[in-house]
Amino acid sequence: MNDDELITILREQRDKVPMNTPVEQIISRGRVVRARRRVPAVAGALGAAAAVAFAVSAALPASHPASHPAGGPGAQLAAWTVARQADGSIRVTIRELRDPAGLQHKLRADGVPASVTFTDQRNPACQGYPGGGSQSQRRHLLSSVATPGGGRNAMVIHPSALPSGTGLQIDALFQHYPGPRGSFQVGVGLVQASPQCTGS
């Protein structure tokens, strides 16, 4: 079988998933979209400003240099910053998707079993959270381990809240276009700690 034959077989599948939503229902939903657009969106801009303000004023941290200056003359923001806080929590801010291995190493050195990737290929050695409980219980657990950091792509990790045998999987995904300064979001989840996944 050559590629053309394989492609033909693959293309035959696309007619087998019909979309049944009536066009009237789509248009009705479209009217809701239009109405939603009339509400000005400022939250994103405020979030970005908060992240920059934090980055400029941060004093401590382990970091990876950014690829180029940002934030005005004399200021160079790190691609990411890891800062241990007085209460033992660790604040992580990611501004550029560079050096995930360095971030992973820093987190592990700070006592956070972590797997960090900045591509759509997560570490295949990572297994899902081993603990039981309902989804809401697991959600509650995660929300006690990692909380929003008050800025865009910033989070605060509470290592003491991590259950034994558990680590964090941190990754990022571009939303609109790739590149180190492209629009992206950072996500975090609980995984089973292992040498291959989280280093311990």
């Binding site: 293309r11 995904l173 989840g189």
Partner: protein
Amino acid sequence: MGTQRLDFAEFYREAKDECLFAVVVSVGDRDTAQDLVDEAFARAWASWRTVSRHPAPAAWVVRTALNTGISRWRRRRREVPVPDLGLVADRPAAGGAAGSSVDPRIMAALLRLPARQRQVVALRLFLDLDTAGTARVLGIAPGTVQAHLGRAMAALREDLIPTWQEENQ
């Protein structure tokens, strides 16, 4: 379709199935894909003056659906544990495309591809975009599109052809 102004209902009728299938392949779940495509078509209707002049309105819909899916996924990932990736990859495809008669082996093979390869396959093969159009939609270089497609085809050949050969013996 080109730059000619289209009637939305006509566009929807012609493009809805291929858009849905492209998104099903990309996200791996029929119900999720259906909702994302519904939302993307609704946004297309809300911006129809612009979208109707887009060189590939169906690609606009698929890209919008995928971007919406990424945003939702990221919001959920803030709240719920990461699933076992092996389980996701090996989840029975028939369940993912429930209600359809898609060959489950083909869907399973597609879902085993990395996400970016699946998106390239969806746009190049199922939406019939050319390499340049696929590159524009995904925001990657044309050469990267070709590389992803080449790897995807190799993986699909390796995955599917032995099974078919065994059946024919």
